[in-house]
Symmetry: C2
Subunit: 499 residues, 2 copies
């Protein structure tokens, strides 16, 4: 998922100054309130080397009362550490009620390093991450706030920072040989961080990815996240005392500025000419027909999940996909609002029912992601429910894919202007008028809320086994080709694996 | 833990009739209330072959409105099943809101059978159980009640039942060759069921072990468990609507009759003569002195945890244990009420701090089990907190033992009469008066509540890695020898493993 992050975000000096002036007194107040309410707080900084963890921690503690926090720099394991179970050190360093412990790297460091260096098996890694989530769960269950930051910079940016450090005598010692080695291997390391985040991103202790190219932006996002989270917790503790449900109104709106902005980063100018399109589609469909019979023979199940803006072209893409398929071997499953029977079950129930059997293809036109999209935005489920859903969905997809199923998830992306153009065109075409309803216009008016929900969805559910594929769909030609290409490639790889 | 269950429990016909007359209308009413409150209910029956699952299910459905439940008999995996991920079948069969699904065996069957037959690795087994607890967690999070029974009979009883079935032509077919094989291997199978229960016994979906020798007793315990659990859930749902915390008062008292009764089953007449004692203790202490230096050399950490009734002789046993030890290599850690600093942390924090380093022995005089004993009985923690604690403690002990630590837990058991004798003796002896306080007498007055808490503790936290050892302590001689013998044996085995 890290590759999907837009790392160009920044903030001007002026913006930053205003932001800091506004947030500093709020943070100081929250520290006092958390002390009063006896809330323990753990803030964890992980991320690339030279991503600015130290700088951010300095910015964080500036407004804090020094009697109430402690910074813990976690370096490599010492020999003394090796006499004890791994997590003991961190258990001991958990904050007392009302105190803030800030970790400059943490228990994540050691585990992930072992994974990167290949000194740990996949099973052991899963077990270690499981121990960590259990540790965090126990703390949160007992009232601790756990805030986790991953500071993200690009390979190029990291290299630049190393060079700058080496230029000065005073800082040259900070760049180790190993740092350069890791910079060389940046692209191979990304999947390890991806896995760390995916396996330990829970509703009770979620990760926040901080785009750390621009220090002002990174500082602002970090402070904003902490303030939002502490405010929420203080409210919750206070409301609980009064035995009232928590209303979100008190907590304040999250600034869209600090959202991941994955969609904003998509290049919607990509296109093909009609001729290119026709040639490519013919070849891809030919391949797909052959692959389909191979799937059946090797009993590989395939799930293709389509989400996207209204009028983004899901129907057209699905049509091009199914044309070459043997109708006995696939099914298109359109998902709309749940019926009475479905509503009376767990929201994932109807999807478990629709899992394709080995060798078959199931194409979902809208999916289980409705929970974190429409149900979230329209308030059809509670906040706790959609927050829990990211992990529930990841677990479901893990169950599917670990037994060999190919699972691809497409987000068909168009911009707001393109959507309007298509809506209007539909209204003017008597054959297509049925395709456009008042609800479409209503949804459109909530574009920003949906965009925020999509961003978070892609971030929290792009896993190694079941990645999101963002399809640039302002051009229908381009979108259809990209979908077919992705499907062909994934099936080819799965067949190779099963040989 | 199964070996600790007293399987001789029974009920007279008269008692049973009265019980059934009382509970039947309550169960019928609860079914209606659960329908009204739209609560989905899953009841799972697992257990030994011929333990009476079918009979119990028949007894359960008798008072129920047949329109509201469904019985699902789960047999071996079919070829059709193998086309899908394992848990899909069970996801599909989850009950709709307000309905009861009764499983005659369930997803546990297939996984545990693979473990018993050795067709699955330890890692895969852990992962499968993890998938199961996650499945149950998702259901419970969405409001489902999950009730799990394990029907337990002895090897002898199972054999008797097989023979009786074979005697009659009408039932002979029900006993398969494989059943006899499993009866032969009964003792080897016990640890697999123990592990299944330990790994999937959670606060949100706990197991109830049903002593199934006597069908009347088994039926009564099963019905009682279901009625208690449903009543609790209905109350919770209703109170939540009114935004009030749940009071336990509404739910009614659990009958001690259906508690595991592990302590009742302990033979307290065991004893040694003074001569036997002196010979044995000398020999054991000699061995222990040698083993202690071996521990240090091989860097094996040891934790010895002592719990027991007041005046059961913990101090005396610990003294005999430490006499031969090198004082630089062990520590006795007396645990009393937490101080201010400890109270301001997670309740396990002070124990993580006290973990011995590799090669050392930590002897705890009272332990982390205070959470589920004194804190539970005296109301120092909330119900949810002590219920969660069983799993939290199991996880902590797993963290310790998986890295090679020897962990033994002793419950020193005396009966109520013996305790009184010792209390009185202490009061009359000027040298020992300090040992007895008003608090001891107060605790004694809550003997029954403590007994219930101890029973549940032993049942829920006796794991393969960290078993409870019940020490028959009416005879101090016997108790001290048993403690030393257990320690010597465990250390010898650990050294053998580390060779």
């Amino acid at each position: 998922m890290l590759e999907k992050i837009n790392l160009d975000k920044s903030m001007t000096k002026q913006e930053y100054k205003e932001f800091i002036d506004g947030i500093t007194p709020r943070l100081a107040l929250l520290q006092r309130q958390c002390k009063e309410e006896r809330i323990p707080i753990m803030v964890i900084f992980e991320g690339w080397s030279a991503s600015g963890k130290g700088t951010l921690i300095n910015k964080l503690i500036l407004p804090l009362d020094p009697r109430g926090f402690k910074v813990l720099a976690i370096s490599e394991e010492t020999e003394a550490d090796s006499f004890y179970p791994y997590l003991r050190k961190y258990w001991i360093e958990t904050p007392a009620k009302g105190r803030i412990h800030i970790f400059d790297q943490s228990y994540y460091r050691g585990v992930t390093a072992k994974a990167i260096n290949g000194t740990i098996s996949q099973e052991e890694l899963c077990n270690d991450y499981d121990d960590i989530t259990e540790f965090e769960r126990q703390l949160v269950d007992a009232g601790t706030v756990v805030i986790k930051f991953f500071l993200h910079i690009s390979k190029k940016e990291q290299k630049k920072r190393f060079q700058r450090l080496e230029e000065k005598k005073a800082t040259a010692w900070r760049v180790k040989k190993r740092d350069w080695k890791y910079n060389d291997q940046y692209d191979e390391i990304v999947p390890f961080f991806d896995e760390m985040i995916a396996q330990t991103d829970t509703d009770y202790a979620p990760w926040t990815i901080v785009e750390a190219t621009d220090r002002r932006y990174a500082t602002a996002k970090m402070l904003n996240t902490i303030v939002m989270r502490l405010q929420e917790q203080v409210e919750e503790v206070r409301e609980k005392k009064r035995h009232k449900p928590v209303s979100e109104a008190h907590i304040g709106k999250e600034s869209s500025r600090f959202m991941p902005g994955i969609l904003n980063n998509v290049d919607l100018t990509k296109d093909y000419t009609k001729k290119e399109y026709q040639e490519k589609i013919k070849e891809l469909q030919r391949k797909l027909a052959i692959l389909h019979s191979e799937l059946l023979r090797r009993r590989i199940p395939v799930i293709l999940a389509f989400e996207g803006w209204d009028a983004a072209g899901k129907g057209g893409a699905i049509k091009r996909l199914t044309q070459p398929l043997d109708p006995r071997g696939y099914e298109v499953i359109p998902i709309s609002a749940p019926n009475d029977e479905e509503r009376s079950h767990h929201y994932l129930w109807r999807f478990y029912k629709a899992i394709p059997k080995a060798g078959h293809i199931a194409i979902f036109d809208r999916t289980w992601y409705g929970r974190v999209l429409v149900e979230r935005v329209e308030g059809f489920c509670e906040k706790q429910e959609y927050k829990r859903a990211y992990n529930e969905i990841n677990r479901m997809e893990e169950l599917l894919t670990k037994e060999g199923c190919v699972l691809l998830k497409f987000w068909l992306h168009i911009d707001k202007a393109e959507q309007e153009k298509r809506f209007v065109a539909r209204q003017e075409d008597p054959d297509k008028q049925w395709k456009i309803t008042d609800e479409d216009w209503r949804n459109r008016s909530k574009w920003d809320q949906y965009e925020k929900a999509v961003d978070e969805m892609i971030l929290r559910t792009s896993t190694g086994n079941a990645p999101w594929i963002i399809v640039e769909a302002n051009s229908k030609y381009y979108a259809r080709i990209k979908v077919l290409e992705s499907v062909v490639k994934a099936i080819e790889e799965a067949i190779k694996r099963k040989k």
